[in-house]
Each structure stands twice: as structure tokens, then as C-alpha cells.
Symmetry: C2
């Protein structure tokens, strides 16, 4: 990270944490230069960047101020309800019908599950691919299949180390994206009919995995900022024969909630006490705003109970389909199960990513990506505050590219989804995130694409429709 | 195919079919040139090629003769036994322990499941990859995931047409190799506990798929040249509630048997009568010796009952992990199941193969590959005839890269496997090809690697060990 970026990050933290309030003046260039012992031009560069991100505004002859809009956001939703009873899952049909409608690339992609491909270094990756393939010994194209590319596993193990997790590359199984990792993990620790604890709301694809494997779910409530309700989870673990727990401890999809480090440790203690394996879906690990990577629950795993799933699909290389799983005590059975189902992910994709991680400037790319997403989040939050009914609630996650909206109760988000789609706007309606098809009045909107006048118009259109729905009640 | 290759093929067919017997003179250059209306140099080129393939020998001042060894082979095995009762499958442990020992690249690779990587146009594919990625629109890297690369699906549909199968590209689902295709197919037409008809012996990985999905098997006998015993299959279909049939109608692994076109049609009629879906594993489709592609059972499928699985892993791009399934009436459920398990194969691998199929000279590569394999087959067959006990039986398949050996009964192929491995030679022992761990005295040997003095020594060593085993009885 360059000096001006580090400084911009420090001031941004002050704004995010509320130390610098909206409308307040940020340190003048002279003050900052003296106080932080950096050149005035470094300060200018930093403020220019923050202005682009929409965090501060310059007023001629007065200096830089925290942008008013930066805090004029909608209120946060309350803790979710969950579903304390056990439930069969029947959401796949709905999910497929919604996803099927999202294929048209011409829509405003608020419903998309991926950030914009423009945000990824695809040409640079293609160069890494060419280089990696030139250097690959012909035999490796066959031997790498079973174990996974050695260089890639080493690079992934190094990144774990940065996040405070020490694990041997041998524990890593490279998979066809995180989706295969999740599937393998669940299959290794459950039998059809078993009960699994999940968050509510939860990522629709994981609900589909549970449905496919004929698992039943207890849905645990989630605080939209602080994550899963540990007391409720403890109750359920005591009451039901839960065989596994699936959750996202960081930037939970769709809420964006992240557990604090202390809460992660407490969660691990609870699961260890009941000897319940955790499938930790951590596909947004690299998309944190701020300067430090969060530690995953896996960090505390001294008994190999955590099956930690990661992926490059959301932060580097969508479509390459390279993910991985650090399977703890289940690593060997996961590896065997993979050999019996898909054998291996594509070797060229693996060597491309391995080369890129070593030589391509991954951290530089990630910093740029995080800044772009943070900026786009601000734009969507302020548009929502401008156009949506005032009693709408919205999350404000510290990373990722999703906002979760809770509209006033009479709103039917499936109807909103249909109306929006007819207008060329996609959204992800609430019920696809629930085993029991709750969240009728909620929706997930993605700010993963560069903000354009068309995005602004789309938010205005959604706002109109919401008002119309409320007026007609 | 060039003129001299076509001519060489014609003469080779005459040798294979026995019209030209071992030791007999092939047409002289002058005769051939006149009779086939080609130049003498074309005839020379053809004979030179056939000499390299070991089919003919030149005798100074006398001309070219059919090589004696070309027919001095071991006898063919009898029809296999099968297992008319239903059986649970428990072969995975054995398979894993055998496969685990095969990872060392320094062994003589008779046990390998892949042909030598040297036989594939890997540098040309890497160029196709670079070009494909340059031309790919950034959005396609995301949209291609769900449906599969459009150009690739069109190219595959075109190749089906060459083999006499008309199908819309929409019926094709691109998968992570044929292994995923098989897994998806089985999951769409069976429930755990169901009964499935398979060949005996059968490809070990498909036995692992059945074991994983908790399916039970009826093993049908197979003739080592003519394929599955249709009468026995008819009996089993009448007697048991069989939910699906899995087989390889062409170059069956491990026997190398191929059904005649008439037998394929009869097989389809039988399955249609019982409305039992067929999972047709056709991964060796392109590896036929001779000049015409065989038609698959899928050719006769007027009711969408055949789930036809193919792959580029054995004929073009091992390690790329690109296969496909033409799912007939099950295509939609297969596609959905794929979305719930791995979402998609790697997009770069798909665009690379799509570009290669269109511009890379696939048919030229395949002709070269087939000639190399046919030549290597002759070398292994004649080595076996020289070194193995005379009452050993061996298949002589019309394609692929596997021979199946039936040794005299007292031979224990698992012991042979251990002894050979200690000497740096891998083989695939018979019991891994059977749900009920039969075929103790059999083994599959691959001739997929270029023949070297070390291959010759390895065959001699195996022969010695076989004799020693028989002597000690």
C-alpha cells in the first residue's frame, strides 16, 4: 500500500467510526502534513482519492469536509427472526426461476451475484495463464489433477498466514469454486435427513445444497451488523441433534454482517463443546473495507472441526472456477470425494492463478477493488436514502458488494422483482434467502458494478414503485 | 486425411481383417500405383508409415510383407462371468489404495488411466487459450458459466453430426470432465438404494460413483470383442426393478469391446421397451482405429432416454477438465443439478477448446494420435506374446489404449501389482474393475505411452514374475 493510500485509509477510518462527523472539516493539508510527517502532495493525493470515493468534498478556499451524504443513510434493520423449529427446505424452484430471469446482460444488474468483470485484471490473468502453461511440465497436467497445483496450494497457505491461520498446504483441496467446496464439506459430515444449523437469511445457493442433500435446517437469527445470535445457536445446539453448522462469519451474504474476533472465538468454543463441525463459507474474505484482513473462525480451530471454504471467483477470477477447502480433520475424505465426483478443477486455471498470486500484483489489485466497492456502496446508500421510502431499512456492511433492504411490511418483493425486471432492472428478492421463504418485504441489491446515471435512474424507479405499492395498501 | 494416409489405411484394413495374411506380400509399388491411380511416391510414403507402425516389413529386393508378429498374438479371453445377483458395491478403498500408488511419475506407466501427455497438442491449445481469452467479452466470463460456452456447444454438436447424431446445442451441458457428467446423470435418474445394470468388468471410477450414491448393481457379462451380453441384460431387466443402465458401447474400459451398430440398435430397443434410461459413457469415441467414427447408442434415441457422456480428457486436453453430457429428456434436471454442485467448468478451458476445435486442426491431431496408439498397441501385443505365459489371454481392441490380460488362474494380480510397483512398474489389477472384486487373475495394461526399451524390459519382467507365480503353485 502506498503512503497516500495508507493515510487516506486512516482518515477514512475516522469518518467511518464517527470520530469525524458529517460536515466537519478534515485536517488541513498543512496540519496533516505536519502531524503525519508526510509531504503536502501526499495529503493532496489522499484527499483526491477520498473525494473520488465520495467520502469528502472540497469547498473552494475552505478545505475538505466530510460529505454530508456519507451519513445520511437509512436506518439499520433489527435482528432477524430466524426459525427455531426444524424445517424441510423447498426453495430451489423459486431460486431457479429468479436466477433464470437474471441472465439478460442488458439489465441494471442489482440482482447479480458477481461484481462487474471490469473490476478484475482479466488481461493480466490471461498473461499469467500463458506463462504458467509454457512453464508447466507435460506430466504435471495429469499429476496436478489429483492433488491440485502445488504452487497454488502454497500461495493459498501463505495468504492464510497473513490472516493469522497456520495450515499445511496438504490440508488444502483445490475445488471447482467454493460451491463444490460447500457440497463436498456437507457430504462429508452429514447423511440425508440430518439437521443443520444455518443463518437466516442465508445465501440461496447453500439452501439449494441443503435441499439437494435432503438435509433439514434450523434457522438462527442474525444481527445485520454483528452476525449470528450465539445464544439462540446455543439453545438450538442443546435442543436438537444438529450434525453441522454452516455460516459466513465475515460479510455474510445477504446481510453483510461480520462477527467480531471475540465472537468468532466464542462461536468456536460452543461448536467444540458440542463437537459440531463448522462449514465456514468465507468467499468474501478479501473484500473487507479498512486496512486489516479479519481472522476467520478457522484461526481458532485447534481440533480440525472447521471446514473453511474460499474462492477466487469474487475477488480475482470469476469464471475460472477455482476455489478451495481447508478441511481440518475431514481433509482426506473431502479429497477422496472430490476424486469421485469431478476429479479436479481445470489445471490451466490453477496455474494461471498460481502465477498471478506470485507475480501479478494481487494485493495492489485488491486495494483498488476494495476502494471501488466502497465508493460504489456510498453511491447506492445515498441513492437509497434519496429515493426509497423513509421507513425502509438498509444495512451498511464493512465490505463486499451487497446491501440488504427491509421495506415497510406491505411491500411484496417478489412483485417488485417482476415489475423491476419488466423495466430492465434486476434485484434479488428476499424469499430466495430463506429455507421457509420468509423476508417477503426484503431484497438484496448489489453495488458490485460501476455506478452510472442508469443506476441512479433505476434506484429512482424502484423508489417510485415502492411508494406506489405502499399507497395502494 | 492425406492421400498416402488414406491408402495406408486401406491396406491396413486388409491386414486387420485378415484378407492379407501374416507373411504375405502386399501389392508392389508398381501394382498399387496403377491399381489405385496414385503416384509411386505416395505408395512409398504409405508403406514407410505402415512399416513404422509395425504392420509390414520390407525385405531387400523382394518388396513389402505383412509382418509375422502382427498376428502372433495371444488368444482372446472368453465371455466374462458377470454376477447375476444384485450386489452392494465396496471397491472404493481398494481403488484408492491402488491409485495412490500410481502417482509416482517415474514408474513405467502401464497402470495409467491417461495416454501420454506428449501425444497431445498442448502448446497449440495454449495458443488457442490466449486467443480465446483475448476475444472473450468480459461479461461472457460470467454469463458463459451457467449455460456453457456457446461456441463450444456448437462445435460439439457439429461433431455429433459427423457421428450420425442430430442434437440441438441446447441439449448439451458442459461439465467438469466426463466424471461429473456421469455423477450428474446417475443422480438425475436414481435414488439411493436403487438397482443399476452395469458391465462386468467395469471402469473402477464408475463403480466408485455407484458406491458413493449408494446404488446396487447387477453385473452383466461382456464379450471381450463384441461387448455386453444382450440376452443376459434382457433377463435381468425382466427379473429386477432396474432403474438405469450404465455402459460403454464403444471401446469399453477395461476390455476394449465395441458393440456393432446392429447390437447398439437392439440394446436401445430393449431399454426403450423397459423405459430404462441409459447412461452411455463414450469417452473413447474419438480413439477408434480405422477410418470411420462409430455411431453411439444415442444415435437411435428417439425418446430422449440416453444420457450420452463425452470428454476431451482422453483425446485432446487432459487436465483441462472439459466434458459434456447430452442428457435427452433429463437435460434440464442435469443442468440444474450442475448449477447446484459446481456451477460451471472453467471458462478459459472452454474457450480454448472451442477455438482449437474451430481452428487448431483437431482431425489432423486425432489421425496422428490414432496411428500412434495403434502402433503402440502392436508393440505391446507382440511383447506380451513374447514374454507372457502362452496360456495368457489378451484382448485386441479396435481403438483406445488398454489391453486386458487374463492370466492362468493361479495368478494373483494384486500380488503382481505389488511386485511390479516395487520394481517401478505400474499395472491396474483386475479386482478394481469389479463390484464384487472378481478378476483376481486379470489386469489392464495401458499402451498409451510411447514404446521404449524400458517398456520392453518391463514386459519381460512381468513375464518372469508370472512364470515364477505359476511355478510356485
Amino acid at each position: 500500500m502506498k503512503r497516500y493510500e495508507r493515510f487516506a485509509e486512516e482518515i477514512s477510518e475516522l469518518i467511518r467510526s464517527g470520530v469525524l462527523a458529517p460536515g466537519e472539516r478534515v485536517p488541513s493539508v498543512r496540519q496533516a502534513s505536519r502531524h503525519y510527517a508526510i509531504s503536502p502532495s501526499t495529503v493532496f493525493q489522499a484527499y483526491y482519492l477520498m473525494e473520488k470515493q465520495g467520502l469528502i468534498v472540497s469547498r473552494p478556499r475552505s478545505g475538505y469536509f466530510v460529505r454530508e451524504q456519507a451519513q445520511q443513510f437509512l436506518n439499520e434493520p433489527e435482528m432477524t427472526q430466524g426459525h427455531p423449529e426444524t424445517a424441510d427446505i423447498a426453495v430451489s424452484e423459486l431460486v431457479f426461476s429468479v436466477l433464470g430471469s437474471l441472465q439478460n446482460v442488458d439489465t441494471v444488474p442489482f440482482g447479480s451475484a458477481f461484481p462487474s468483470p471490469e473490476l478484475f485484471p482479466l488481461p493480466r490473468l490471461a498473461r499469467s495463464m500463458a506463462k504458467g502453461l509454457r512453464e508447466l511440465s507435460p506430466n504435471a497436467i495429469i499429476t496436478d489433477m489429483t492433488a491440485g497445483d502445488t504452487a497454488l496450494r502454497r500461495q493459498i497457505a501463505l495468504r492464510y498466514r497473513l490472516a493469522g491461520v497456520h495450515l499445511p498446504p496438504q490440508e488444502l483441496v483445490i475445488t471447482n469454486g467454493a460451491m463444490e467446496a460447500l457440497n463436498l464439506g456437507f457430504q462429508c459430515v452429514t447423511e440425508p435427513g440430518d439437521l443443520v444449523a444455518i443463518e437466516s437469511p442465508a445465501f440461496y445457493a447453500s439452501l439449494q445444497v441443503l435441499e439437494r442433500l435432503k438435509l433439514r435446517a434450523v434457522e438462527i437469527p442474525v444481527h445485520p451488523r454483528e452476525g449470528i445470535d450465539l445464544d439462540k445457536l446455543a439453545d438450538s445446539l442443546a435442543k436438537y441433534p444438529i450434525k453441522a453448522c454452516w455460516l459466513m462469519s465475515h460479510l455474510q451474504n445477504p446481510l453483510g454482517a461480520s462477527l467480531s474476533t471475540a465472537k468468532k472465538q466464542a462461536l468456536y468454543g460452543l461448536l467444540k463443546q458440542h463437537q459440531v463441525p463448522l462449514i465456514e463459507d468465507d468467499v468474501y474474505a478479501e473484500l473487507y473495507f479498512g486496512s486489516k484482513p479479519p481472522v476467520p473462525v478457522k484461526h481458532f480451530d485447534d481440533e480440525g472441526l472447521v471446514i473453511h471454504c474460499g474462492s477466487f471467483s469474487k475477488c480475482l477470477a470469476p469464471g475460472y472456477r477455482v476455489g478451495w477447502v481447508a478441511g481440518g480433520r475431514y481433509a482426506e475424505s473431502i479429497s477422496r470425494l472430490k476424486l469421485m465426483t469431478t476429479i479436479s478443477p481445470s489445471v490451466p486455471a490453477q496455474v494461471a492463478i498460481a502465477d498471478y498470486l506470485q507475480h501479478g500484483g494481487y494485493d495492489r489489485h485488491l486495494r483498488k477493488l476494495r476502494l471501488a466497492l466502497e465508493f460504489q456502496q456510498t453511491r447506492m446508500l445515498s441513492a437509497a436514502a434519496r429515493y426509497f421510502p423513509k421507513d425502509t431499512r438498509a444495512t451498511r456492511p464493512a465490505g463486499g458488494y451487497f446491501l440488504w433492504f427491509e421495506f415497510p411490511k406491505p411491500v411484496d418483493s417478489l412483485r417488485l422483482f417482476q415489475i423491476a425486471l419488466a423495466q430492465g432492472i434486476s434485484i434479488a428478492p428476499g424469499p430466495i434467502f430463506s429455507a421457509t421463504q420468509g423476508y417477503q418485504n426484503c431484497a438484496r441489491l448489489s453495488y458490485g458494478h460501476p455506478w452510472t446515471p442508469r443506476s441512479e435512474e433505476a434506484m429512482a424507479f424502484l423508489g417510485e414503485q415502492l411508494r406506489a405499492m405502499l399507497a395502494s395498501c
